[in-house]
Structure formats: structure tokens, C-alpha cells
Subunit: 207 residues, 2 copies
């Protein structure tokens, strides 16, 4: 488990030559930080008289941001596991033709998992970007810079996760799966950079 590791130990292990954690887990953690900031902005808005009119909206937003924060924390581990399966598959015996065939199949299975894990991270990060405009609009203005940090990190995490999808695509032999993945990547990034800059503009206008 990485989620219960102290931050300094996580960072030290990250910096080392140890195979995990790597870029995929870091993408998930960066996304979780974005989600945490979004939840914080909700908490700083709830119970405040000035924001009485939006309490229901903020409560709904909080449920969405917290769900994604917890999801991303579990995706940190999922990415590590997927990497472990792939590394194990590559180490399988390949002396005989049968062994070679079994190993190839295991690699294909594992590389699929190692593609789907970061794709799952990207999905959640894309949703975290979409949650920012209502937070800028309705959330506590004193915490508006935190929405800015959230949108910056969520977008960086989205692109980071997709890099970890892209490294696996050349190894995938299932053309249909590879094409569907590419298609999903395009959908996930569509308009997100622009939305991030729009949120940043709105944030800066409220500073």
C-alpha cells in the first residue's frame, strides 16, 4: 500500500531506481491532490451564511469531489499492481514454443491492464476539471486560488496519465482495443486545455 506511506518515504522511493511508484501512480496522486483541494473549497463554503443560496449545490459537488478523491487513492495502488503484472509477465520462461506462446499471451493480458489503469486515472482527472467551473462560480471566494491549483493539477494529471497509456499502446497487438483506446484518449482531452485556461482566467479575475 502506498496510500498509508509517509509522504517523505513515498518521495524517496519515487526518486530511487525502484520500479514503483512511477509516473502512473504520481498522476493518480496529483489527481487526488486536485480532488482534495476541490473538497476543501466545498468545506470552506458549507455553513457560511454568505453562501446560503448555494449550500445544496456545494453539498452535491462535495459528494462528487470526495468520490473521485477516494477513487484516485485506490488507483495509485491499481497502477502499481498493473505494472507488477506486466513486469512478471515479461519475466516468464520462454525456452519452448509453448512457453513462448503462454508468455506472449500473458504479456498481452498484462499490457492491457497496464493501459486500462492509467486510462481510468485519466477519466477521473477529466471529470475533476469539469467540476471546477461551478466551484469558481459558487465556492467561497477566499479559496478561489485553490480551485485554480486544482484545475492546473487535474489537467497535468490527465495528460500525465495519458502518457502512461501511450507508452503501452505500441506493445498491444489487439488492433481494435488499441484503436478504441486512442479514440477514448481523444475524447478525454477534447477541450480540456481550453477549459483549464478559462477557469484560470475566472480565478484570476476573482483574486
Amino acid at each position: 500500500m502506498f496510500a498509508d506511506k509517509p509522504i517523505d518515504q513515498f518521495l524517496a522511493q519515487l526518486a530511487s531506481a525502484a520500479p514503483t511508484p512511477g509516473g502512473g501512480s504520481v498522476a493518480a496522486l496529483a489527481g487526488a491532490l486536485a480532488a482534495g483541494l476541490e473538497s476543501m473549497v466545498c468545506h470552506l463554503t458549507l455553513g457560511k451564511e454568505k453562501y446560503q443560496a448555494v449550500q445544496d449545490d456545494i453539498n452535491q459537488l462535495l459528494a462528487e469531489t470526495e468520490k473521485r478523491r477516494l477513487k484516485l487513492m485506490s488507483l495509485i495502488e491499481e497502477d502499481v499492481e498493473a505494472y507488477g503484472h506486466l513486469a512478471a509477465a515479461y519475466k516468464m520462461a520462454r525456452a519452448t514454443d509453448v512457453e513462448k506462446q503462454v508468455r506472449t499471451q500473458a504479456i498481452q493480458e498484462a499490457v492491457r491492464g497496464a493501459t486500462l489503469a492509467p486510462l481510468g486515472i485519466a477519466e477521473v482527472c477529466a471529470e475533476l476539471i469539469d467540476l471546477c467551473p461551478p466551484l469558481v462560480e459558487k465556492g467561497n471566494t477566499n479559496a478561489v486560488s485553490d480551485v485554480g491549483v486544482a484545475v492546473l493539477l487535474a489537467e497535468a494529471a490527465l495528460r500525465s496519465a495519458l502518457l502512461n497509456v501511450m507508452i503501452n499502446l505500441p506493445s498491444i497487438k489487439d488492433v481494435e482495443f488499441a484503436n478504441a483506446t486512442r479514440q477514448r484518449m481523444t475524447e478525454l482531452t477534447q477541450g480540456k486545455a481550453e477549459l483549464k485556461e478559462r477557469v484560470m482566467k475566472d480565478v484570476e479575475a476573482k483574486l
Copy 2:
């Protein structure tokens, strides 16, 4: 100390209404993650015969990335402390004219500190972006996507830290200090978004 807190606890406290950690500390942590990935790429290049010609360069780069990883970890705490001083100054007595004067001065001192802390984070993150091109060029190609994640996070952390500088600027009465800070912000961001996209292009070409 936040650096020795388990990740899940840090995230839970971040998501809560507790005043710290906030966006500034998260910017420092995101920067530390970028630095950690850069160090990892160095470690995965050192001792590899294929990269024999660049061992000295990589050793030098590693010294630079590790210095910044440790610096950013201490900046997580520094940002929290600076925020604490500012909150304490705002809570000072202001019944008499003398008290008011003392409080105003304390606030001005504290807001300066709360500006310099994220500015320091931004400085280091800008340097982390500059360290990426030689890492893409000379580092282990198998880890090139990790340089991509590093540059994305370092740039997001840079902009995040600067948001936390910007929220304090309107409170600063020392015009010279405010102008110098604005000038430094411009210098720090100059060309960084373009450099990030150039690194990303080079990374994607090597995937």
C-alpha cells in the same frame, strides 16, 4: 510536520475545512513529485552500459534534482508556517490606536512572508522545468514518459505557486516590494509553457 504524514491522512486533512495544508503546500508537493520523477530517471540511467557516455552528466543532473526535491519538501512546511503567521497577525488585538498600528505592521510583515514562501516554491519549480530537456535527451529512453509527467507537474506547480503569490499582492502596502514581486513572477514564467510543450513533443517522439 506534513512531510512525515501518511499520504491518505495528508489528503484527508487537505480535503477538510482545516486551514492547512492548502494550495501553497500542494504546489510544493506537486513540485517535489516532479523532482522525484526526475531523480528516478537519473537513477534508471546510472550504471547502464547503454548510457555509459552520459554517466557524468546524469550524476550532475541527479545532484540538481535531489537538491530541489529536498528543498521543496521543506517548502511544504514553510508555506504552512507563513500561513500560520498571517492568520495569527489578523487575530491580534485592535482596540486602541497603538494596537491597531502594531497589528497592521505585523500583518504587513506576515503577508510578505506569505508571498515569499510560494515565490520560493515557484523558483524551484521553474528550475525543475529547465532540467527536463537534458533528461529527455540523455536519460534512459524506457523512462522518458516519466520526464513528461515531471515537466507537466513542474509547470502546473509553478503556476499554482504563483497563484498563491497573487492572492497576497493586493494586501501588500510596500509598492516597491509588490512591483519587484510582479517582475519576478513575469521572469519565472517567461517561456516556461512553451518549453513544457517542447519537452512533451520530444517525449512523445521517443515513446
